[in-house]
């Protein structure tokens, strides 16, 4: 088949750079992409985790400017369970012609028990089950459009103690940072003064680095301006947020905020808290990137681990400890088959050799036996022949002797006969 295809390099490398001499029109491709994406609509799944009473529901309502959580649909802190549950609410919101199917996953009961060991397990299980669902639908023979219910982002709420992270915080983030994009937030930031907040942030970041926790990182871009903004955001991590369900008056404006006797803490005032930074980053600039990282990194990690387990099932564990194969399980099986064929060939050759050798031995032994037999037979024959000859000789000698004696006897006899006849004749007077 490859005889029919002449390739001129460039399949995987770069193409030849060519300059256009006039209007072509593919500059409209971005528009085409834009159009199609609006038609399709968007999805996003956001998980919120934190102890009860940290203002999670309020923050979500503030972020999306809607009553996601209300009296009718109470937030996680109002649904305290005995054990950690993972529950989701799906809402459809539209803005500027763009439809967004937003799923908020919350975890009522997290961190609220007296003994919180393993309270992250239901959460991990939930994330994995979403990956599993996606993997299964991606792996079907008949694939339809796959709904993406994977968790794209996890907002983790840190209580504003002002000191540092709690052991639960560290444990949770360590267990989840390789499964989901973790964005830690300082909740109810209006209980900290700016200086306390600064200290707190520094301490948290120190601890995060110390424990090698990988929180969500903003991607580098080619744009200088953007990179500068990104750097500014990075300096403010973790973001300290305030949320509010109420709108009040402040400085003659109607703002979303928390009214205190001493003033109003405005949610959208960047001097008061980092809410706008969070909103801009989460929704306006990096929502797509959060989805991409989930798809390209977290999901792929899950998938390759899952499939490697299948491939190496039954094979020697030592092999499995090496690098993850880049092949598909089927290709892996193909390779194993080939290996097995060559192993068998070798085995066959060895067995053949041993067989031949044994046969040779036996045949040789038989030959030796035969030769020995032959030799003995020859010897015995010779022996017998010698005895034969000896006997013949003896007989001959004996016969000679007897013949001689018999001849002698006959002679004697004749002599005696002759003399007797003479006697007789004498007696008869015949002879004087």
């Amino acid at each position: 088949m490859s005889d029919n295809i002449l390739f001129q390099l460039q399949s995987h490398g770069k193409g030849q750079q060519k300059n256009l001499e006039g209007y072509v029109g593919f500059a409209s491709l971005p528009n085409q992409v834009y159009r199609k994406s609006v038609k399709r609509g968007f999805e996003f799944t956001l998980m919120v985790v934190g102890e009860s009473g940290l203002g999670k529901s309020t923050l979500i309502n503030s972020l999306f400017l809607t009553d996601l959580y209300s009296a009718e649909y109470p937030g996680p802190s109002h649904r305290i369970k005995k054990t950690v549950q993972v529950e989701q609410s799906k809402v459809l919101i539209k803005e500027g012609g763009v439809q967004l199917l937003l799923t908020i996953v919350d975890t009522p009961g997290f961190g609220d028990a007296v003994d919180n060991s393993n309270c992250w397990q239901p959460i991990i299980d939930h994330i994995d089950s979403k990956f599993e669902d996606y993997l299964n639908s991606e792996s079907r023979v008949n694939r339809r459009q796959m709904p993406d219910s994977r968790i794209h982002c996890c907002l983790y709420f840190i209580a504003p103690s002002g000191h540092g992270l709690k052991p639960l915080d560290i444990e949770f983030m360590k267990r989840l940072h390789e499964k989901v994009n973790v964005i830690p937030l300082i909740a109810k930031a209006d209980t900290l003064t700016p200086e306390e907040c600064q200290q707190f942030k520094k301490q948290i970041m120190r601890e995060i680095q110390e424990h090698k926790i990988k929180i969500y990182e903003f991607p580098e871009t080619d744009d200088e301006e953007e990179n500068r903004l990104v750097k500014k955001i990075k300096d403010k991590l973790p973001l300290a947020v305030v949320g509010s369900n109420t709108i009040t008056e402040a400085n003659g404006k109607r703002v979303r905020g928390r009214q205190y006797p001493w003033g109003v803490a405005e949610v959208e005032n960047s001097d008061h808290c980092d809410f706008t930074i969070l909103r801009d980053m989460l929704i306006r600039t990096h929502m797509q990137d959060l989805k991409d990282v989930t798809n390209n990194v977290h999901y792929e990690n899950y998938r390759s681990r899952k499939l490697a387990a299948v491939t190496y099932n039954g094979v020697d564990n030592n092999r499995a400890k090496g690098q993850l194969s880049t092949k598909s399980p089927l290709a892996q099986m193909e390779e194993e088959r080939r290996e097995h064929v060559s192993k068998m060939k070798k085995m066959e050759m060895e067995m053949e050799q041993v067989f031949e050798m044994k046969v040779k031995e036996k045949v040789q032994k038989l030959k030796d036996s035969e030769a020995e037999l032959q030799r003995r037979h020859e010897q015995m024959k010779k022996n017998l022949e010698a005895q034969h000859r000896e006997l013949e000789e003896k007989r001959r000698v004996f016969e000679d002797e007897r013949a001689n004696w018999e001849a002698m006897q006959r002679q004697e006899q004749q002599k005696m006969e002759a003399s007797r006849t003479l006697e007789k004749n004498k007696k008869k007077g015949k002879i004087f």
Binding site: F7, T66, M380
Partner: protein, 427 residues
């Protein structure tokens, strides 16, 4: 490909909510677009047509570039494909374009297998993508997509009808690639002939069940123009990279003694329509169709061929892991069986050889026994002879002894007799 490719259906349990202000997620399409621009786009176009029909010229004209072109001979023994990749940029949009041309198409005397290299090429690209998708450690977002997104089929401007080669080839390709038929060298057909020709071609395609690419009508923004354009198929095109002065402009054209055919003049040919549809409006749709329809079909067939199913015999859903595991079990069992068979074969041979050798041993033993018997016989015979000799010897000795005795007696008697005679003689 974005994972959120889902048509938003009203789901059970999904609440629509209204917003109290500007949240900002209306920037999502822009975020997506920015990402696409950053990554760059890629497009692969396949041109099928007879040698000299104007494929390369049309590509040059469409993309306003001078691609490296080779003039092919008419004497290629087989149809081959030549693929070249170029990096183009228009404003801030980067496009990696791969142009694949057939070489020698339609030149052979026997054209029965002409379509095969094309089908093989398209399948090879699908296979390559499938392999990447099935890998354990994969990087699909970095993968250079080489699958064919559009296939321009160049129809000879005979003015009458499609050739059977055209129908056969397009029929083989219509479930694998988006086919856009074009009438080449349209400057040899008059307007009225062209109209009839187009109708004939479309009806032949329909009656032969060939599914060509239809410009999509689902997006209201472009539904209208797409509908109109669908009615102009197949596009009658003229290509030219040479410029001729018309009025006070230099335009791409072909100069004849009887006039100038302007490529970008919509009265002269459908080039502008082709460019509009192929590049400006539907390029993204062509890519999407390739991925969601043609590739999925290929993938489905391939997986079914390999024995994958979505449900087991009891119609329960089977996950990929289960399928892989089952295959693996099968595979291991098969390997074990082969090993056992080989061992068995050896055991058999050993047995056979052993019995052979045993037979030989027995035969030898038999011979040995026989020889022994022979020996014994001969020895016995010898013993008989010996005994006979001894008997003869002893009887002879007896005779001799007796005779000697007799002789001794007779001698004594004779001596007496003689004595007597002597004695009696004196009387």
């Amino acid at each position: 490909m974005a994972s959120s490719d889902v048509a938003l259906l009203p789901d059970k349990g999904v609440r629509p909510l209204s917003l109290a202000g500007h949240v900002g997620f209306d920037s999502l399409p822009d975020q997506l677009v920015n990402k696409s621009i950053y990554q760059g786009f890629c497009f692969n176009i396949l041109c099928i047509g007879e040698t000299g029909i104007g494929k390369s010229t049309l590509m040059d004209t469409l993309f306003n570039t001078n691609f490296e072109n080779f003039e092919s001979s008419h004497f290629e023994p087989q149809v081959k494909l030549r693929a070249q990749t170029y990096d183009l940029q228009e404003s801030n949009v980067r496009l990696r374009l791969t142009v694949v041309n057939t070489v020698g198409f339609g030149d052979q005397m026997n054209k029965q297998e002409s379509y095969q290299p094309v089908v093989d090429y398209i399948d090879k690209q699908f296979e390559s993508y499938l392999q990447e998708e099935l890998k354990i450690k994969r990087s699909l977002h970095n993968y250079h997509d080489s699958r064919v997104h559009a296939c321009l089929y160049f129809i000879s401007p005979s003015g009458h009808s499609l050739k059977s080669l055209d129908l056969v080839t397009m029929k083989k390709l219509d479930s694998k690639v988006n086919i856009i038929p074009v009438i080449a060298k349209a400057d040899t057909i008059s307007k009225s002939e062209l109209h009839k020709f187009k109708i004939k071609i479309m009806s032949e395609l329909v009656s032969n069940g060939v599914q060509i690419y239809q410009f999509p009508l689902d997006d209201e923004n472009v539904a209208k123009v797409n509908t109109t354009m669908n009615g102009h198929l197949p596009f009658a095109v003229v290509g030219s990279t040479e410029e001729v002065s018309v009025g006070n402009k230099m335009v791409k054209a072909r100069q004849y003694p009887w006039g100038v055919v302007q490529v970008e003049n919509e009265n002269h040919c459908d080039f502008v329509k082709l460019r509009e549809m192929l590049i400006c409006v539907n390029m993204e749709d062509l890519r999407e169709q390739t991925h969601t329809r043609h590739y999925e079909l290929y993938r489905r067939c391939k997986l079914e061929e390999m024995g994958f199913k979505d449900t087991d015999p009891e119609s329960k859903p089977v996950s990929l892991q289960e399928t892989y595991e089952a295959k693996r079990q099968e595979f291991l069992v098969e390997l074990q069986k082969r090993e056992d068979e080989m061992r068995q074969m050896f055991v058999q041979r050993v047995k056979e050889k052993e019995s052979e050798l045993k037979d030989a041993e027995r035969e030898l033993q038999g011979r040995f026994e026989q020889l022994k018997r022979l020996h014994a016989d001969e020895k016995a015979a010898l013993e008989d002879k010996r005994r006979l000799l001894e008997e003869d010897q002893s009887s002879f000795s007896k005779r001799r002894a007796a005779a000697q005795l007799l002789q001794a007696q007779s001698l004594t008697a004779n001596g007496k007799k003689d004595k007597d005679r002597k004695n009696s003689g004196f009387m």
